[in-house]
Amino acid sequence: MSDTQPPPSRATPSLQRKFEGRALRSMVLSGLVWFLAILTSVPLLSVLYMLITQGGARLNMEVFTELPPAGFEMDGGFGNALVGTFFMVGIAALIAIPVGIMAAIFLAELGPSSKLATAARFAAKTLTGVPSILAGVFAYALVVITTGTYSAPAGGVALAVLMLPIVVLTAEEAMRMVPKVMKDAAYGMGCTHTQVIWQIVLPTGMPAILTGVMLAIARAAGETAPLLFTALFSNYWLLQEGHLAVMSPTASMAVLIYNFSGMPFDNQLELAWAASLVLVMIVLIVNIVSRIFGKPKF
């Protein structure tokens, strides 16, 4: 370069991409994360593929209306297990949703930095990581032993223990997301603390709270271990001779799949596949519904 030439910075820069150094590194990393993202969806997609090919063939109206078949019987279904799952998830939801949302109100609004809140938050976080079979042990001790029988309420309590931390933590997060300026506006209008919570914080956070509730329901619907020694299983309908057999062993989809998948009979194996497909569809529908409700109305 001679002195008469303009300084290099004035030369027309090349805007072409150069395949070297950071550009190359960036491409490799992008490729890697693409690959890993695809990899994470492989398990779900392959499970769905298996379920549809294996369980789809057996899916008909009968499986929803018939009782589970015994050893060498043909046909049959899992109608009682479907009813049992809905019933027990319903009990669990009735316990976990009100308790969880109330607890979340305390954590987010009433005493967010109190010792009780710190302890409760820690407990909820720990509970999400506790093996689900322990929820079964807890409900066994609390309900099965005291009532002397396996039952749907015992299963419901076990599932509620699993739902509770999900509801508490997502609902607290949802309420914390409500902007402080919005709450200030409500106080400025002359709202009491209670009115701010019920009229502003809860409605504003409701979509996100519902998402958490739906996730908790989906989780509970698929649980097997906590039901094994709380609700056990039953080959009969929940509704027997005109009355609800509440305080007796109750069937559930998850336990039916667990029982049938270990059997040496083709008919039961096919039903286990079909039941799995139905259970996954339920979870999928609940998740889709939560997305619809989860969209903020305003």
Binding site: P179, V181, M182, A185, G188, M189, P203, K297, F298
Partner: protein, 272 residues
């Protein structure tokens, strides 16, 4: 107009025209003395502007007038805030009730996550208003110069409006319950100049029916809309910052003929 110019420098405020008389001896947050020795009278159907450098406590003072500061942990208050003859900090006074008579408009437009109609109706429903809520909502939106823009979409979310419209919605929400006093905490600082001008025009319109206390960091805004102006400054000593009232008077006097050197320095832009 010219007769008001000949008024004496110190306003002789008739007690009958006084809506609020605020004597703020000390405002603490924990051990931090935020404001001291400030006495601000607020006259009926006038706009009282609070100006001063940032950190001078003008917002703190404003938020003390309807006890919004009660929500801040560690807030302590010495002095009195007389509102129509009653001390807002008096024994047995419910801050929630105070805020229903002394409304507030905030710096950030903060509509609720509900429809435009429900936003304005919120205070009416809160006070269990017995009359026609629709009428009052319309009135309030007209009062806030927003009616023509939103009358066909009252069911649309308040959050879907532009920033300036949101702020006028918040003003409509505040005036729907017809409070005696409207506290406005830098209501234009998040708005563009055109929206700012609209809100300023609105404030001048509103003072026919309301009494307004306005915090602003914009001195031009104070000269445009405020009838009387309180100038605050801040003491910085021993690592602490304490705001205090330097001068109070008619706006033209504060800006044209300030008595205090500090005021003169500030309005001539020698410090901020």
């Amino acid at each position: 107009m010219s007769s008001t110019m000949q008024q004496q420098a110190t306003p002789d405020i008739q007690s009958a025209t006084l809506v609020m008389d605020c004597k703020l001896d000390k405002i603490f947050y924990g051990n931090f003395l935020a404001v001291r020795d400030s006495h601000v009278p607020i006259e009926k159907n006038k706009i009282t502007g609070f100006i001063g450098p940032s950190g001078c406590g003008k917002s703190t003072v404003l938020r003390s007038l309807n006890r919004m500061n009660d929500l801040v942990e560690g807030f302590r208050f010495d002095g009195y805030v007389q509102f129509l003859g009653q001390d807002v900090y008096g024994k047995g006074v419910d801050p929630v009730v105070v805020r229903r008579y002394i409304g507030m408009v905030f710096q950030q437009p903060n509509p609720f996550s509900m429809s435009i109609f429900d936003n304005v109706a919120f205070g009416l429903r809160l006070n269990r208003y017995k009359g026609d809520i629709g009428d009052r909502v319309k009135q309030a939106l007209q009062g806030a110069a927003l009616w023509d823009e939103v009358k066909d979409k009252l069911k649309v979310s308040g959050l879907a409006l532009s920033g300036g419209q949101q702020q006028r919605l918040c003003i409509a929400r505040a005036i729907a319950t017809q409070p005696q006093v409207l506290l406005m905490d830098e209501p234009c600082s998040a708005l563009d100049p055109i929206a700012t001008r609209r809100v300023e025009e609105l404030m001048v319109e509103l003072k026919k029916d309301y009494t307004i206390a306005l915090v602003t960091h914009n001195m031009q805004q104070a000269t445009r809309v405020a009838d009387t102006t309180a100038f605050f400054s801040v003491d910085i000593s021993e690592g602490s910052r304490t705001g205090y009232l330097v001068e109070f008077g008619p706006t033209y006097q504060i800006f044209e003929n300030p008595r205090e050197k500090l005021t003169k320095d500030y309005i001539s832009g020698q410090f901020s």
